[in-house]
């Protein structure tokens, strides 16, 4: 694909099948404590 570079990413559709273990870090607990975001959390099942 000469005009499109697709980055390697986690397949969110697939993660619906085997995700949701609940072991990952609580979103707000780590650093900011004033605004929510989940994108910078890491999966514990890597």
């Amino acid at each position: 694909m000469s005009r499109i570079n697709t980055l390697e990413t986690k397949n969110l559709c697939e993660s619906a099948k085997n995700g949701g273990c609940g072991e990952c870090q609580t979103s707000c607990q780590s650093a900011c404590k004033t605004s929510c975001g989940v994108a910078n959390q890491q999966c514990e099942q890597k």
């Binding site: 694909m1 000469s2 005009r3 499109i4 570079n5 697709t6 980055l7 390697e8 990413t9 986690k10 397949n11 969110l12 559709c13 993660s15 619906a16 085997n18 995700g19 949701g20 609940g22 072991e23 990952c24 870090q25 609580t26 979103s27 707000c28 607990q29 780590s30 650093a31 900011c32 404590k33 004033t34 605004s35 929510c36 975001g37 989940v38 994108a39 910078n40 959390q41 890491q42 999966c43 514990e44 099942q45 890597k46």
Partner: protein, 495 residues
């Protein structure tokens, strides 16, 4: 749902429901925008009219690109439909009443008198108090008892200033270490401190026991000392920066965040972040102030475009510094595209009031630290558990699909519905929309992904700072240092 944007010379397409990120040229950018609504011939005609005079563009090229777009659509990389709404409440329903994280307010008092403190100088609009070990121990027993099958339990020592109750912090950690093996749990401790009481003993203990330390510094001395003053009105910068340096130097690659707050008075907050970096700190965070409208420190509508420009400037400067190996991390730009959260995490909300709660010095439970002091949001206590079930349900049903206004927002799988406390303080409703915060959040995600695109497009140019140093692997969801003499040959964790 697609989101297309141009930033720092990159044309970026996010397919939000698959999580795919595409870096494209301007021809593909336009084709992707037209593809869902226009027949192929219309697209070819429009592209030839716009780009036909370019040497690298002809009809065959355009049809090939349309074919690529079709391929990506067929392989769930573009135009992926949003089918997640039925799953939104499922995770919390499945989790039941499991609690896995507590913000432990060991000290409702503080040795600083910061003007913008959302916790009213640590008192949370109530009385000054220190948590006793008996209360802390009960809170830990309560956490273990309600954690179900969750192995990783998180405890943040918070305040006020938690180091003002340091003995109880240590007693609590020691107690948890004494029970965690038998309980089948793994405690992860963090502490959030203003630094005033850091000494060698605190440094040694924190670096041994705390998986993360959050150090409050607002950046430039004059900015920091304007608000972060002691009760005599003296700034704290000179006293804390050497302590922070000593702690970080001794940390051995374990996580820390140098965390600041910016206000209406320093909308050029990137200069404060760069000051932190120039001081040698590498893991940085900077948050917008939480203040009531009308407060002289509160951010205004006029500040919003300025702040957005600042976030872009920050991203570009981070990349520039990475070229020379002088990079740093910024909390909101840390995004792991390959090993980030699953879809359940992305749609289930932040967990406040359900899997995450705050405990006051008296053992009362609140949905999170930002609700402490809001009496109507007291959920129960650590002896009787959650007794205000209806109130808790308000939080149980907070998720990425709880707010109709979020339906068409491309960023909802990055924020998971946003911060309930921000929503409450801005609108009076935990399911309200704090649009100002949303605007900043979307800008931050755009910048974060642009940095990832830059790394992907120029892998040899940028040398990003890795938490834990050059030899870093992901351990238990965190980046942790590997000792120099450790054999890495069996591990593929390092990049």
């Amino acid at each position: 749902m697609l989101h297309q944007y141009k930033l720092n010379g990159y044309d970026i397409v996010l397919d939000t429901c698959s999580g795919s990120v595409h870096s494209v040229d301007d021809v593909a950018y336009d084709i992707i925008a037209m593809y869902p609504d226009q027949p192929e011939e219309e697209i070819v005609s429009a592209m030839m009219e716009k780009y036909g005079d370019r040497e690298d563009v002809d009809e065959d090229e355009i049809r090939e690109c349309i074919g690529d777009v079709r391929y990506l659509e067929e392989h769930q990389k573009l135009y992926t439909p949003d089918t997640y709404e039925p799953l939104a409440g499922e995770f919390k329903k499945r989790s039941g009443d499991v609690i896995k994280a507590l913000c432990l307010h060991v000290s409702h008092t503080c040795n600083l008198n910061c003007e913008y403190c959302f916790a009213s100088q640590g008192k949370y609009h109530g009385d000054r108090a220190l948590m006793t070990f008996e209360v802390a121990k009960q809170a830990m027993d309560f956490l273990v008892a309600h954690s179900g099958t969750r192995r990783n339990l998180e405890v943040d020592f918070f305040g006020g200033e938690p180091l003002m109750n340091w003995d109880v912090v240590k007693q609590t950690v020691d107690y948890c270490r004494s029970i965690e093996k038998e309980a089948g749990k793994n405690f992860r401790f963090t502490v959030t401190t203003n630094g005033m009481l850091i000494d060698d003993e605190v440094i040694d203990y924190c670096n041994k026991e705390m998986s993360n330390v959050v150090l409050s510094l607002d950046g430039r001395k004059e900015v920091h000392d304007r608000t972060r003053v002691d009760y005599a009105g003296n700034g704290s910068w000179e006293r804390i920066v050497p302590k922070f340096k000593k702690l970080v130097d001794a940390r051995g690659g374990k996580n820390y965040y140098m965390r600041g707050t910016f206000t209406h008075l320093n909308t050029d907050f990137t200069n404060d972040i760069f000051t932190m970096a120039d001081l040698g700190f590498r893991e940085l965070s900077m948050e917008p102030v939480v203040a009531k409208p009308g407060d002289p420190l509160a951010l205004t509508e006029e500040d919003l475009p300025v702040l957005k420009e600042e976030y872009e400037l920050l991203a570009k400067e981070m990349l520039r510094r990475e070229e020379t190996g002088d990079g740093f991390t910024f909390y909101h730009y840390m995004i792991d595209l390959t090993s980030g959260p699953c879809i359940y995490k992305r749609i289930s909300g932040c967990g406040s009031g359900t899997e995450y709660m705050a405990v006051t010095p008296w053992g009362d439970l609140y949905p999170c630290h930002q609700f402490v002091g809001e009496e109507e949001y007291k959920l129960g206590d650590i002896w009787n558990g959650v007794t205000e079930k209806e109130k808790q349900d308000e939080f149980r049903y907070c998720n990425a699909y709880a707010r109709p206004d979020c339906a068409d927002c491309w960023a909802k799988l990055y924020c998971s519905g946003g911060c309930a406390a921000n929503a409450y303080h801005a609108t009076g409703d935990v399911k309200g929309i704090y649009e100002y915060g949303c605007e900043l959040f979307r800008k931050r995600i755009e910048c974060a992904i642009m940095i990832q695109v830059a790394h992907a497009e120029h892998p040899d140019l940028y040398k990003p700072h890795r938490v834990g140093g050059d030899k870093a692997v992901t351990l238990g969801g965190r980046l942790a240092a590997v000792p120099d003499d450790e054999d890495c040959s069996t591990c593929d964790g390092c990049d």
